[in-house]
């Protein structure tokens, strides 16, 4: 068994998608007032910073960026040892009354997003939560959808989608990996 991988979104494509998402966030929220970004560790945090840079370029305002680790909110801890290393949740601002844009790299079953929303609610009561993802690969198991999507990629369950980042946490490209028998 081996793996074959194809680039489904190159560096330029990723950057264009993020720029479009930034514009859509501004359009939906009529600016950046009360908008905060919270990335899901680890890929989502890097992307949230990328989006924040673009919002600052467009609006000239720095939007706060936080990070949420969902390990302690997972629903699959039962039945096996919880081996997932725990990351740090860093939301150094109040979420009370904020318009939170939750950012992740790949939207798949929706369970991560459910966990992240529970984590956010434990930090305060935002006025709304919106979801931005770079890739939506389908196969939802919960009634969750994204508000801002970079690229919809139909996938099979045997495939996986990987967003690569460089040493400076800037996105490089997106790969679709398949197991080859």
């Amino acid at each position: 068994m081996g793996e074959s991988s194809t680039v489904i979104l190159d560096g330029m494509g990723v950057r264009r998608s993020l720029t479009r998402i930034a514009h859509e966030i501004l359009e939906r929220n009529k600016g950046v007032e009360k908008v905060v970004l919270v990335g899901i560790r680890t890929g989502g945090v890097h992307l949230a910073h990328e989006i924040a840079l673009r919002l600052e370029e467009i609006e000239g305002v720095k939007v706060p960026v936080g990070a949420v680790d969902i390990t302690m909110y997972r629903d699959d801890i039962k039945g096996h040892a919880p081996h997932h290393p725990v990351g740090k949740t860093e939301i150094p601002f109040s979420l009370e009354g904020k318009r939170v844009v939750l950012v992740d790299d790949v939207l798949f079953t929706g369970r991560t997003i459910r966990a992240a929303m529970d984590a956010l609610m434990d930090h305060g009561r935002p006025s709304c939560i919106q979801l931005g993802v770079l890739i939506d690969r389908g196969h939802r198991e919960l009634p969750i959808r994204a508000d801002f999507v970079g690229r919809n990629v139909p996938t099979s369950l045997k495939e996986s989608v990987v967003v690569l980042f460089d040493a400076d946490n800037a996105p490089v490209n997106v790969l679709l990996e398949k197991e080859v028998p």
């Binding site: 302690m72 997972r74 040892a81 919880p82 725990v86 984590a119 930090h123």
Partner: protein
């Protein structure tokens, strides 16, 4: 992190049984969980539906409360049992007590017992996880882990730190666990205490030097860890007088000057003020005693988290 970050122990009974990677993982998890303790809502749902029994055969306020708070912050259900209210006063054996508790299907038993090795005895017989909250003069892993977390926060590392441990080393499970843990993490240990309270052959445990007096141990130290004189154990028969003990092995400002200027003063509590630790040092700038207590909750959350759920059965 990555693949190295696997915790493969069902029980945490002694730091002797853990590798440096295990300890590193527990400390990292604890560091990352600390944030929960400063939220308005200090609770995450991780261990929802798990039952944890705190079985304390010896007196404890700090450790028992800290384990209980840690369990509650992770949403586990906790039950506290202490000997004065349990059947052991009616003559029930430890094994029978434990089997009866097991019939109520706990996921973890956190136990303190005066007999070293009682945790291994239970781990062999019970299907749930066992965490040692102190066993006789053997080990007290959660205390050593919280001590290591406090040092790591202060210095950013444990490797190469000079740590002085002063007092009744032979009856101290805190000292024994710290010696086991810190030597694995690359610290250098310098022990001082009355010869009657120094276990023979302690140098064999690792990078440990037994000093002839307290000044030699404290000289140039990054950390000065004072041990409590355990008056409830055999302290008295091994000591001429407390006053004399305090003169030779008590930490005061003058002796602390021998350590590095930014040295940390630590103590596992409860303090005998004016015996092993002068009040002005205990309450001084260099004292990290309350940080230790604060870190205790995070470290115990990490221990419960990594132990819970079972996983592969291992010897320890």
């Amino acid at each position: 992190m990555g693949d190295a970050a696997l915790f493969n122990h069902k029980h945490i009974i002694a730091l002797r049984d853990l590798s440096a990677d295990d300890i590193r993982l527990l400390l990292t998890t604890a560091e990352n969980l600390k944030e929960i303790n400063s939220r308005d809502i200090k609770k995450v749902p991780t261990l929802r539906g798990k039952t944890i029994i705190n079985l304390f055969y010896e007196a404890s306020t700090r450790t028992r409360t800290s384990f209980e708070i840690a369990a509650k912050r992770l949403s586990a259900d906790t039950v506290n049992i202490s000997p004065s209210t349990s059947s052991s006063t009616k003559g029930e054996t430890l094994s029978d007590t434990a089997l009866n508790l097991l019939a109520m299907k706990p996921d973890i038993i956190v136990m303190r017992h005066n007999i070293s090795g009682s945790h291994y005895f239970l781990a062999k017989r019970l299907s749930c996880s066992i965490i040692n909250a102190g066993d006789g003069a053997h080990e007290h892993p959660s205390q050593a882990l919280l001590d290591m977390l406090t040092m790591k926060e202060r210095f950013g590392r444990l490797d190469g730190l000079k740590v002085a441990i002063v007092g009744d080393v032979s009856h101290s499970r805190v000292a024994r666990s710290n010696i086991q843990g810190l030597t694995k993490m690359g610290s250098h240990l310098f022990l001082a205490g009355p010869p009657t309270m120094m276990p023979p052959g302690v140098e064999r445990l690792g990078n440990v030097t037994v000093c002839k007096d307290m000044r030699e141990a404290v000289d140039g130290a990054d950390v000065v860890m004072m041990l409590r004189i355990q008056l409830e154990r055999q302290g008295k028969s091994l000591l001429p007088t407390l006053k004399e003990y305090s003169r030779y092995f008590g930490l005061n400002r003058e002796i602390l000057k021998l350590a590095k200027p930014d040295a940390m003063v630590m103590h596992p509590g409860p303090i005998n003020r004016g015996v092993e630790l002068a009040s002005d040092v205990a309450d001084g700038d260099q004292s990290h005693i309350l940080n230790q207590v604060e870190n205790g909750v995070a470290v115990r959350m990490a221990m419960l988290y990594h132990v819970c759920g079972g996983g592969t059965v291992d010897a320890g």
